[in-house]
Amino acid sequence: MLPSLVIMALFMFYPLIRAAWLSLTNYSFFGTSQFIGLGNYSRLLHDPQFWGDLGNTAYYAAVTTPVSVVLALGLALLLNRRGLPGRGILRAAIFLPAVVSLAVAAIPFRLMFTPSIGLITYWLGELGIHATDWLSSTTLAMPAVIIVGIWKNVGFYMVIYIAGLQTIPREFYEAARIDGASAWQRFRQITLPLLNNTTMFVTIIALIASFQAFDQIYVMTQGGPAFSTETLVMLIYRQGFQNFSMGYASAIGYVLVLIILLFSLLQMRFFSRRAIRY
């Protein structure tokens, strides 16, 4: 236990305090450091880049989270039915993206979106839609990285949903069927309410993951074009490790902490409530 605490103290709490201190200075890796109080935070409030990136992050989360959760639930319902031939293989195929590196898997996606060689623009061209380069369009680049984000996680959430579905006793459905409930009624009255906990859990982990989006964006667009896909974590990376404004990057990090803490507290409340119920 002691080594664990030492490691946590050294690599978690010490950096956390150092980050707090850094966020109050104008430290840059090569220059000198001065205490500037809340200077970085007031700079943040007046930085259109920060607000733009916060908006991008919110946009990413607002689309990725609900779409992933709904798709995952749909697929779980589909692949949980008894007697569906090959459902094990289908589940494995849909889960597959969860085990591969998002950064590496984003490479094929980037190429598929490249007009000269990519399939996606080729298909759209065949359908008579003029080939555009999604990744260099300020309106289409974000949907492209969102698609990849959903692709990566939908199978993971599906597996959690399948586990949730399997805790629902079959008798409930049989009773409902005898009472003449339609398939839709059974879904609305039995499945959905009993999956409430699973849905909460999946939604919260999906939200937290969305707020930390980085990998596929780094590979596909580097936050461009014109910063239209730059998220908060991208901004931390760019300010801290490309511009070396490390004080400023630390301040952005604390904003991210605040956002994620908010969602984590929701998660904690959800867990404690569930602990009481069972």
Partner: protein
């Protein structure tokens, strides 16, 4: 050439003849469910199949507008080039050491701490547990800058210990194992204690009872670190220390128009995890499922 474009549409169409299912009061019949399931699986796996199909095409065929799956000539030359250009053996070795090292260290330290928090009485135990819970909620990105500076002070950038040690213990792991240890009946260890077993032996006994939880957690640590991009990107500034993810991402930045090379490189990087997954597939999905319910 064109046939590739038809695949996601064609497969469901072929399966679309629904055998009339006995319980007709379902939203979808089994046949349609199968069709939709296959369509979804094909769409999801397609990018990986596509990149493989294109990685065995000659470069000139890739750029002359043949984006489909099939090619007139099959070549391994992209792989031969990519193997050396990305220094695949080196990246693989680094990734195995990084992900394996973090997993081994973290399982050891997590389980020791979890044991102490679950079973031992000592002052400050609750404070420590609360600290673990707080850590659980912090995004690691907030620590990127100070950790980078700290490792740089220690001259640990571009070293394995720099990559591994900051991750050698993990709040989620401690929390997860503590919950599991708490569920093990206390009578067992009381009996062992009466028999005069040492604290360490009791710890080992609890570990043996927790093998499924340890496997699950180990799988999580391994997969997460194997796939991680941001952390290795920051700690290694020298190409000999890149992992598969960071190495490929940076390689792409420099060789963006050598399509065949990049495609072969990404296939090489994806294959180890896919193979591992296919071997222990059931374990994988069960692990995810249990961790979600816990």
């Amino acid at each position: 050439m064109r046939s590739a474009t038809d695949i996601p549409v064609q497969v469901p169409a072929a399966e679309a003849r629904p055998p009339r299912s006995r319980s007709s009061r379902r939203i979808l019949s089994t046949g349609w469910a199968l069709a939709v399931g296959i369509a979804a699986a094909v769409i999801i796996v397609f990018p990986l199949v596509w990149v493989f199909a294109n990685s065995i095409k000659p470069e000139n065929e890739i750029i002359t507008g043949n984006p489909g799956l099939f090619s007139a000539t099959v070549t391994g030359s992209n792989y031969v080039q990519a193997w050396d250009a990305i220094d695949f053996p080196r990246l693989l070795l680094n990734t195995v050491i990084f992900a394996g090292g973090v997993t081994a260290a973290s399982l050891t330290f997590d389980s020791l701490t979890a044991y102490a928090l679950a079973r031992l009485e000592f002052p400050g135990r609750n404070v420590i547990f609360v600290l673990v819970l707080i850590t659980l909620m912090l995004p690691f990105q907030v620590n990127l800058v100070p950790l980078f500076l700290f490792l740089s002070d220690l001259h640990w950038l571009n070293t394995y210990q720099g990559l591994i040690l900051p991750r050698a213990t993990n709040a989620f792991g401690i929390f997860f194992l503590r919950q599991f240890f708490m569920s093990i009946p206390k009578e067992l260890e009381d009996a062992a204690r009466v028999d005069g077993a040492s604290e360490f032996r009791i710890y080992r006994m609890i570990l043996r009872l927790s093998v499924p939880a340890l496997l699950t957690l180990g799988l999580f640590h391994f997969m997460y670190n194997w796939n991680d991009l941001l952390w290795p990107l920051i700690v290694s500034t020298n190409s000999s220390m890149y992992t598969l993810s960071s190495g490929l991402a940076l390689f792409l930045g420099q060789h963006v128009i050598e399509y065949g090379l990049i495609m072969a490189g990404s296939v090489l990087a994806i294959v180890p995890m896919v193979v591992a997954f296919l071997i222990i597939q059931r374990r994988f999905t069960e692990s995810i499922a249990t961790s979600g319910l816990r």
